[in-house]
C-alpha cells in the first residue's frame, strides 16, 4: 500500500510536474489511501528535499556532461533532486508560454528574452523569490533588470572577440598590432586578400545572431539602438556592406550562423573571424589567436554579453521559491557552473579563479572582455530590444545583399521599429 503510494506520487511528479507538497496534501486528505505515519514521513521529506525542475537550452549536454555534474553537485548540497529538461533555445519563449499553467521551477533563458517573458508575467522578481544577487557583476546582471526589478541571474557570460589566423597574417605581411580601428582593420583585410587569402568571416544571418554579431561594430561606432538611422549607425553598417561588396568578406555571411562562420574560419583560408569565447578551445587547437574588436577610432568596442539567465517562473506554491533561489545561487556561485558551459563566471571571485586557471572560454582575455561587454537590453530597452533587433538584422540583410544602401535600409528599419514600439 505504502509502496503504491510512493510510486503514484513519483509518477505524479514526473508526469505533471505538480508541486510535491500539493500532491501530498491531496493524498493526506484522503485517510483511506494511506496510514498517517507514512504521510508524516513524506511531509518531512518535502520540507528538507523534494524534486525541482530545471529547463535548460543545452540538449547537446547529456547526463554525463560537466554541466549535469554541476547541477547534481548543487542538488546534493541542498539535499534535493533536480529534474533537468533540455530544449531548443529558439523554442524557449514558445515552450514557456504554452506551459503557462505548469512552469518549471527554474527556466534558463537567453538573456535578451528575459524582458519579454517578464513582461508576460511569467517570471518572479528577486524581491519575490528572495534571490541574492549581490555578488553578480553589474554589467552582466543588468540584462535581466527591468525598471529596477531583477528577473534572475546569469549562469555565466560569453562575448565576442576578433579571432585571427597568425599564419595567414604572417604570409600576407600584416602585423596584428597594426589593427587598432576600423580603417586599419579594413587595410589589413585588403592586404590579406591581395596576397591571395580570404579576409574576414562573421555571421550576418537574419536572426538574433546577426544582430548579436553586428553590435560590437555598431556600438564601436558610437551608435545607439534607439536611433538606427543616425550617421553613426550608417557608418557601422557601411563598414560591413563595403567588406562584402569589395570581397573582403564572403557572400555566405548572409546565411552563416556563428557555427558555420566558424567552420569557414577553420578552413585556414581566412585571416579574421568574429566569433565567441565558446570557440576558444578550438582556436587553441588550431593555433588561432584573439583580440578585442576595435572601435571606429581605436580602443576596444563594447561587445554584447551572451549567455543564459536562470529565472524563477511563477508558481502556485510560493513556498518553492526559497529552494529554487538556493539552486540558482548555488549554480551562479563560484565558477563550477560557468566553467562547465564554457562561460565566464558571473561573479568576480569565480571569474578571477577561472582566469588564474586559464579555463577555456574564460581566460584572462575573455574575463576582461566580458567585464567590458554590454548587455543587449541595456539602456532600459527591455521589451523594445527584440523589436529593434529584428529591424536591425533585416536592415543588415538588405544592405549586405545589395537590396538598398545602408542609409535607406536603416531608415526603413527605424521607421518600422517606431511603428511597432508605439
Amino acid at each position: 500500500m505504502t509502496t503504491n503510494h510512493h510510486l503514484a506520487t513519483r509518477i505524479g511528479i514526473a508526469f505533471t510536474g505538480l508541486t510535491l507538497v500539493g500532491v501530498l496534501a491531496g493524498c493526506s486528505s484522503d485517510p483511506a489511501e494511506t496510514s498517517s505515519p507514512a504521510t508524516g514521513d513524506e511531509t518531512t521529506a518535502a520540507e528538507t528535499g523534494g524534486t525541482y525542475t530545471l529547463w535548460d537550452p543545452y540538449p547537446n549536454r547529456d547526463d554525463e556532461s560537466t554541466w549535469a555534474m554541476a547541477i547534481n553537485a548543487c542538488a546534493d548540497e541542498l539535499g534535493i533532486t533536480i529534474d533537468r529538461n533540455s530544449g531548443n533555445t529558439g523554442d524557449t519563449v514558445k515552450d514557456l508560454t504554452t506551459a503557462a499553467s505548469n512552469l518549471p521551477d527554474i527556466a534558463m533563458v537567453d538573456n535578451p528574452k528575459v524582458s519579454t517573458l517578464a513582461d508576460a508575467g511569467l517570471l518572479t522578481t528577486a524581491a519575490e523569490n528572495g534571490l541574492d544577487v549581490s555578488n553578480i557583476q553589474a554589467n552582466i546582471l543588468s540584462a535581466g533588470e527591468i525598471d529596477g526589478d531583477v528577473y534572475g541571474v546569469p549562469v555565466g557570460a560569453n562575448t565576442l572577440g576578433l579571432y585571427y589566423n597568425p599564419e595567414v597574417l604572417a604570409d600576407a605581411g600584416v602585423d596584428i598590432a597594426s589593427v587598432t580601428d576600423y580603417d586599419s582593420l579594413t587595410a589589413a583585410l585588403e592586404t590579406v586578400v591581395a596576397a591571395g587569402h580570404k579576409g574576414i568571416t562573421f555571421s550576418a544571418v537574419g536572426t538574433e545572431e546577426g544582430t548579436f554579431q553586428f553590435l560590437p561594430w555598431f556600438w564601436g561606432a558610437n551608435a545607439d539602438l534607439t536611433q538606427l538611422d543616425a550617421p553613426e549607425s550608417v557608418a557601422a553598417l557601411q563598414l560591413w556592406t563595403d567588406w562584402v561588396a569589395d570581397g573582403l568578406a564572403p557572400q555566405s555571411v548572409l546565411t552563416n550562423t556563428q557555427g558555420t562562420s566558424w567552420d569557414e574560419f577553420l578552413t585556414g583560408e581566412y585571416a579574421f573571424a568574429e566569433n565567441g569565447s565558446w570557440f576558444q578551445g578550438q582556436a587553441d587547437e588550431a593555433g588561432y589567436d584573439v583580440i578585442q574588436i576595435p572601435g571606429i577610432n581605436g580602443g576596444s568596442a563594447p561587445a554584447p554579453t551572451g549567455g543564459e539567465f536562470m529565472s524563477i517562473p511563477v508558481q502556485d506554491d510560493t513556498a518553492r521559491y526559497a529552494t529554487s533561489a538556493k539552486i540558482v545561487e548555488c549554480l551562479a556561485d563560484g565558477s563550477a557552473g560557468a566553467t562547465s558551459l564554457g562561460y565566464v563566471a558571473p561573479n568576480a571571485e569565480g571569474a578571477a579563479a577561472q582566469a588564474a586557471e586559464n579555463t577555456a572560454g574564460a581566460t584572462e582575455f575573455w574575463v576582461k572582455a566580458v567585464a567590458d561587454a554590454k548587455p543587449r537590453t541595456a539602456d532600459n530597452l527591455g521589451t523594445d530590444y527584440p523589436i529593434i533587433s529584428e529591424q536591425l538584422y533585416t536592415a543588415i540583410q538588405v544592405a549586405l545583399s545589395g537590396g538598398a544602401s545602408p542609409e535607406d535600409a536603416l531608415k526603413d528599419a527605424q521607421a518600422e521599429a517606431d511603428s511597432r514600439i508605439n
Binding site: 508576460a120 564572403p250 557572400q251 540583410q397 545583399s401
Partner: protein
C-alpha cells in the same frame, strides 16, 4: 466510436426481430418499415459520427481558433491571463497596409505559378516518355521518385549547399564553363529563383506519378485508331492524350496549387524568406510574424494565414465549378 458500435449492434438485432415479427404478423409491416427507415438513418449517422468528430476536432476547431486569433490582439500575456482584447479588422488592416504584403503576395503568385507550370510541363513530358515501355524504364521511373521520398529538410539543405555562393557545386560548375558566380541565396535578385528551382525539382515526381496513372486510363484503341488514320506523334498528343488527360491534369494542378501556396520548409531552410523580403511568401511571412522575431505578433500572423486560406479556398471553389461543368457536358 463506442456509441456507433452499440447503435450498429442494436440495428442488427432490430433487423432480426423485424424479420421474425413480419413472419408472425403481416399487418404490422408498414409500421416496422418506418421503424426500419429510422434505424437505417441512425445507422448511417452512426457511421458518420467518427468522421464528423474528426473534422470538427482537427479542421473546424483549429480554423475557428485561427479566425478568433486574427480578430483579437493576442500577446504573450494573453497566454497567462487567457484574455485578449477584441480588435476587429485591425490586424487585417495592419497586414494589408504593410510594405511586406505586396512583396509577399507577388512572391507567392510567382512562386506558385512558375512552380505549377514547370512541374506540370516536365512531369507530363516524363509521363509521356515513360508511357512507352523500354528496358529499365520502370527502374528509371522509380529513380525519378526519389526527390519525393526525401524529407523536405534534407532536400532543402542539400540544395542550399549546392547553391552556396562561396563553395557551392553549382557556382563551381559555372566557373568551369567560364561564367561568373551567381549569388543564389544571398542576392535579392536570385533568391526567389533559387527556392523556385528547388521546389520544381521536388514537385516533378508528384506530377509524374499522377499523370502517368492518368495515361494508363486512356483506352489504347484510340491510339491504334489514330495511328491507322496516320496521325503523327505531335498530333496524337494534342488531339488524344492532352484532352483525355484533362480531369487528371485538373486535379494534379489543383493539388499542386494548394500544396505550393503553403510551401514553407524549403524556403525557410534555404533563405528564411531573405535577403530582406526577396523570397518571402505569405506562408513565410505569417511564420515570421508569429515565431520568427523576438516579439511574437500572433494575431497579425493568424490574419496572414487566413488570407492564404481564403486564396486556396477560392481556387478550390473554382475547381469544383469546373468539375461540375465538365460532368454536365
Amino acid at each position: 466510436m463506442k456509441t456507433s458500435m452499440t447503435r450498429t449492434q442494436r440495428a442488427a438485432v432490430g433487423q432480426g426481430v423485424k424479420e421474425g415479427a413480419a413472419q408472425a404478423a403481416p399487418s404490422g409491416t408498414r409500421q416496422s418499415a418506418r421503424r426500419a427507415t429510422i434505424r437505417k438513418q441512425a445507422t448511417a449517422w452512426a457511421f458518420l459520427t467518427p468522421i464528423v468528430i474528426y473534422l470538427v476536432l482537427f479542421y473546424a476547431y483549429p480554423l475557428y481558433t485561427n479566425l478568433d486569433l486574427s480578430f483579437r490582439d493576442y500577446t504573450l500575456r494573453s497566454f497567462i491571463s487567457g484574455e485578449a482584447e477584441w480588435a476587429g479588422f485591425e490586424n487585417y488592416r495592419q497586414v494589408l497596409t504593410d510594405n511586406t504584403f505586396g512583396t509577399a503576395l507577388w512572391n507567392t503568385f510567382v512562386f506558385t505559378g512558375a512552380s505549377l507550370l514547370f512541374q506540370y510541363a516536365i512531369g507530363l513530358a516524363l509521363a509521356v516518355f515513360f508511357y512507352r515501355k523500354f528496358p529499365l524504364s520502370s527502374t528509371l521511373r522509380a529513380l525519378f521518385l526519389v526527390p519525393w521520398l526525401l524529407p523536405l529538410l534534407v532536400s532543402a539543405s542539400t540544395w542550399a549547399w549546392m547553391l552556396n555562393s562561396e563553395s557551392g557545386i553549382v557556382n563551381a560548375a559555372l566557373s568551369w564553363i567560364g561564367l561568373d558566380p551567381i549569388y543564389w541565396l544571398t542576392s535579392p535578385d536570385w533568391s526567389l529563383t533559387a527556392v523556385l528551382i528547388t521546389n520544381i525539382w521536388i514537385g516533378i515526381p508528384f506530377n509524374l506519378v499522377l499523370l502517368y496513372a492518368g495515361l494508363q486510363a486512356i483506352p489504347t484503341e484510340l491510339y491504334e485508331a489514330s495511328s491507322i488514320d496516320g496521325a503523327g506523334r505531335w498530333r496524337t498528343f494534342w488531339s488524344i492524350t492532352f484532352p483525355l488527360l484533362r480531369p487528371v491534369s485538373a486535379i494534379t494542378v489543383l493539388l499542386g496549387l494548394v500544396y505550393t501556396l503553403k510551401v514553407f520548409d524549403i524556403i525557410w531552410v534555404m533563405t528564411r524568406g531573405g535577403p530582406g523580403d526577396s523570397s518571402a511568401t505569405l506562408a513565410i511571412w505569417s511564420y515570421r510574424l508569429g515565431f520568427g522575431g523576438g516579439s511574437p505578433q500572433l494575431s497579425p500572423a493568424a490574419a496572414v494565414a487566413n488570407i492564404l486560406i481564403l486564396i486556396a479556398f477560392a481556387f478550390g471553389l473554382f475547381y469544383v465549378r469546373a468539375q461540375r461543368k465538365a460532368l454536365n457536358q
